[in-house]
């Protein structure tokens, strides 16, 4: 195994493109090093992207926020501006692991590791986040939901790295929230996760919505029917019930030690309802 820590994305892409055998990208390493340890992967090349300037900071811009791919989640939690704009995304990022893990883990890594249970991913998708992807052919901007294609699988080319995750400027009267179910309070992996982002009109009715579920299918699922169920409503009980039913219908979960198919399906609707209520309040709804 060779270790490289290039200082530009151009060098990083070239290293990945020219790699013989298996090459992997290292950001926080909280998933990658555990997989190296278990022998799950034996890469020939590790490209550490933490020395690349453009991956190292959170930038606030007119268009929103740019979160560098090697910014650890603890820094995301420390950004007051980001917390004000996208509290659901920040809360989701902070749910990942212990303080020790928070000190290393990144949302770009959470995305590229492509676990169906990744906590930050449903929240990012709900908020309309995009990934800035760099490869030898240049840069492209991709909606976060287009990155993961299945458990452990992404649409990224061999030479491509996610340089940053970009969040839009929060539109007026908009709020987001993310909730997950785990059997205990901390240090666990989502059995179900639900991210919701809502925009209200002047009358306090939902005018736009995004409902995204995690850990109930091979990738995070955008449930358009769930969003449609609450659009035009003030989250009355009937609208919420319709949304929950749409969530349940969109589930395609596995049975495992963390939860059964029935349990995951049922909880998806419950969590989506609760997350929607929080998002509604954050959007200024009463």
């Amino acid at each position: 195994m060779r270790y490289e820590a290039p200082s530009t994305t151009r060098e990083a892409s070239a290293l990945l493109a020219n790699a013989k055998g298996k090459a992997v990208v290292l950001a926080g390493g909280t998933d990658l090093l555990a997989r190296l340890k278990s022998g799950d992967i034996e890469p020939d090349l590790v490209v550490d992207i933490k020395r690349i300037d453009t991956t190292q900071s959170i930038k606030r811009m007119a268009s929103g926020f740019r979160i560098g791919a090697s910014v650890p989640c603890v820094e995301i939690g420390r950004s007051a501006a980001l917390k004000r704009a996208w509290p659901g995304v920040v809360e989701a990022a902070q749910l990942i692991g212990s303080d020790q893990i928070q000190g290393r883990c990144t949302i770009a890594g959470n995305l590229c590791n492509a676990s169906p249970a990744a906590d930050s991913v449903p929240a990012l998708i709900a908020a309309g986040a995009k990934a800035s992807v760099v490869g030898t052919a240049g840069r492209r901007t991709v909606a976060v939901e287009k990155i993961t294609t299945g458990p452990g699988k992404t649409s990224l080319g061999k030479d491509e790295i996610v340089e940053s995750i970009n969040l839009p400027k929060r539109p007026p009267r908009t709020g987001d929230a993310y909730l997950r179910f785990t059997p205990r309070t901390e240090m666990d992996i989502a059995v179900v996760g639900a991210g919701v982002c809502l925009t209200l009109n002047g009358k306090g009715e939902v005018s736009k919505a995004r409902v995204v579920l995690g850990a109930v299918a091979p990738t995070a699922v955008i449930v358009a029917d769930a969003a449609n169920a609450i659009i035009g409503s003030r989250l009355e009980d009937s609208a919420l019930a319709e949304m929950a039913a749409a969530c349940e219908a969109a589930c395609n979960p596995i049975d495992d030690m963390r939860g059964t198919i029935e349990f995951r399906t049922d909880v998806s609707g419950v969590l989506a309802k609760r997350a929607a209520k929080i998002a509604y309040q954050r959007a200024g709804g009463k």
């Binding site: 195994m1 933490k50 303080d99």
Partner: protein, 164 residues
Amino acid sequence: MSAVQVSTTVNGDAIDFVCQPTETLLDVLRNRLGLIGSKEGCGTGDCGACSVTVDGQLVCSCLVLGAEAEGRKIGTVEGLADGDKLHPLQKQFIDNAALQCGVCTPGFLVAAKALLDRNPNPTEQEIRYALAGNLCRCTGYDKIVRAVNAAARDVRKQQARKKR
């Protein structure tokens, strides 16, 4: 496999080492630098026995490659005491019998210090959350929480004395 040459700082001392790219920072600390305070419990970032700080940030050294230490400042449990003078946390762990087998203790000390550095007056809940990444199979945690609470009081007293 090509070896990597690394220049870093450990507990304030400039240190150079050569390691294999597959070695973790924990491997390097224990096997190359003789700093065996940090322990390997799980090797997968779950137990916190290998906790160290990298540029002041609490991390599991089993989830950091040795090569990643280049130019960073590493802090380990060996850096807690000031010569023969124990850190208040170390003193209170002894006084409160907050350890039994001792394998988790270095990790708890490093994690607790990271907590007190940013919050010298934590509530019990804050202590428990801050130490949630450290597993202890002997004590049941209660004595550890009490020790950290007592050490926080000592640290605050020290800080007040320094200000005067």
